[in-house]
Symmetry: C2
Subunit: 338 residues, 2 copies
Amino acid sequence: MTIKDIARECGVGISTVSRVLNNRPDVSEDVRQRVLAAVEAKGYIPNNSARDLVKSRSDAIGVVVRGTGNLFFSAMIKTISAEIDRCGYDMVLRFLDAGEDEVKAGAILEREKKLRGLLFLGGRFNYTPGEMSLIGVPYVCCSYTNSFGSLRETDFSSVSIDDFETARQAVNTLINAGHKRIAAFFDDCEDHSISELRFGGYKAALREHSIAYDENLVVQTGGFEMEDGYTGMKELLSRPCSFTAAFVESDMMAIAAIKALNDSGLSVPDDCSVIAIDGLDLSRYVTPTLTTMVQPCEEIGLESVRILLSMMQDGSVTEHIRPVATLRAGASVKNILS
Amino acid sequence: MTIKDIARECGVGISTVSRVLNNRPDVSEDVRQRVLAAVEAKGYIPNNSARDLVKSRSDAIGVVVRGTGNLFFSAMIKTISAEIDRCGYDMVLRFLDAGEDEVKAGAILEREKKLRGLLFLGGRFNYTPGEMSLIGVPYVCCSYTNSFGSLRETDFSSVSIDDFETARQAVNTLINAGHKRIAAFFDDCEDHSISELRFGGYKAALREHSIAYDENLVVQTGGFEMEDGYTGMKELLSRPCSFTAAFVESDMMAIAAIKALNDSGLSVPDDCSVIAIDGLDLSRYVTPTLTTMVQPCEEIGLESVRILLSMMQDGSVTEHIRPVATLRAGASVKNILS
């Protein structure tokens, strides 16, 4: 499958296909859609320019970032960038738009930039070997792993907290403070990804304490942005059910959820306790200080680079590391036992 | 001046100098300091590796980021990265540590990566032609300009809001709401940089309204981090002076300053109004919603890349663009006239 095949298939010139693949403005929308559909259907991976075809493999490591606007990733990118630089490699950074697939983006980047290795900063948890065969260099899943997929442990490396366990501990913190009516906010409870694992941890904590699961208390926000946390809490407040606490799966969404409570005349933690996962520095400076499970951001970044470099020297060495998230108590959880 | 001269000067081997320059851990602190002092004194710019020496100029654009942990820059990096990619260039990203000089870092990056151009994301405002002669490719000052330096307008390009004017408008917003005792927070009032300009805007607004300047109301925070905003407000509260409003030079610092007010039992805006500059998305989701001057982040990023590319084609074309910051009213400023 070459660029010529795509051009023939679409009845356009090679340069037109090239313009579409390089996202240039000078192509009609109709032609663009036709070319993209053909590229999609044929699974074609472009070599973006003739220049790249003649380059031998570089000293570049690709970093594909899924989920931006997220301070958690901002901090990690800085750590990863400094470490790649310190080790004498170049970093090629690629931010994904919502809905873009990281595997395809990574595969394209690998060919365009002749990468030596890839770091995926966030991604799906359900890769198949067939899908990952697109990636021809060692890669590390950074801040997630393949819980719902069919990769063998020896096919890839990962550095991530245990999402199920971290959510379970967060919810247990609320239960230990006397809460039984605990709302929870997830991007999507059946995403075969981070939210499904954290949803599992939420249900496990309830089960351990014989608290009945109530689906009315669970909100699927359909995203990870602050806006999603805000509208999610507003939706919950419109339902005819009571709750004394909420577990929110990221600090940024939790801050927005607290804002929604405030805007509805409710106060945290008196009317509703809130706990989250991430442990951003920012969360120390909101009122009330957010209680949150802190991800060891720097450790995750450094370990990911270390493992990738050792895989680049010997592709058969894979590692799966589970750094531990720890509770940082703020003032957003109220003990209602006393 | 070569690496050999530095090695001879310091009485160490070339490989030791190389290790210091590459920031490797296996060098004693004593030797490291000696080598860095010699590098500094001689103005030596390393070519980091033999590999780089044989490469011809690449298609890479360097982006040197000063001031991290800042959501304002995170958003801009995403815009700049996508635009550089769309135009068919590679982005080489370099984050500076506090205290590192962006000109030197840019000059080193230029030689190591054979850059075609440089974008400085934040930097000093007082460059001299001698200093900038280290930079051998076109560059754009992104989000700042050379207000205190001696560059000619035809030597460089810049895209930045007018810091003096934006601060003046922010403080005028407070004055128009009836405030006269207005505190202000700056990194450093005489930094020949962004804070000095904004400090000037603050004083100009007071002068226009015949409000006496009171140095007790001005806090120099010594940094741009949230922690600096928090400790700055705590310091102000310990002074024997009263105030009804505060101008803070960044959203992140303002959020932390509000936290310090809350922790001292004061409420915003009832006890103290707060206004800032940046206009982060985050600032819509804190309580109270922050009133802030919004920087047109995307415009600044896109214009910077556009200008840099046109300079790369014709180095003599420089531009200086001043996008306008606009007020976004939140709930953190109280009108005390009525």
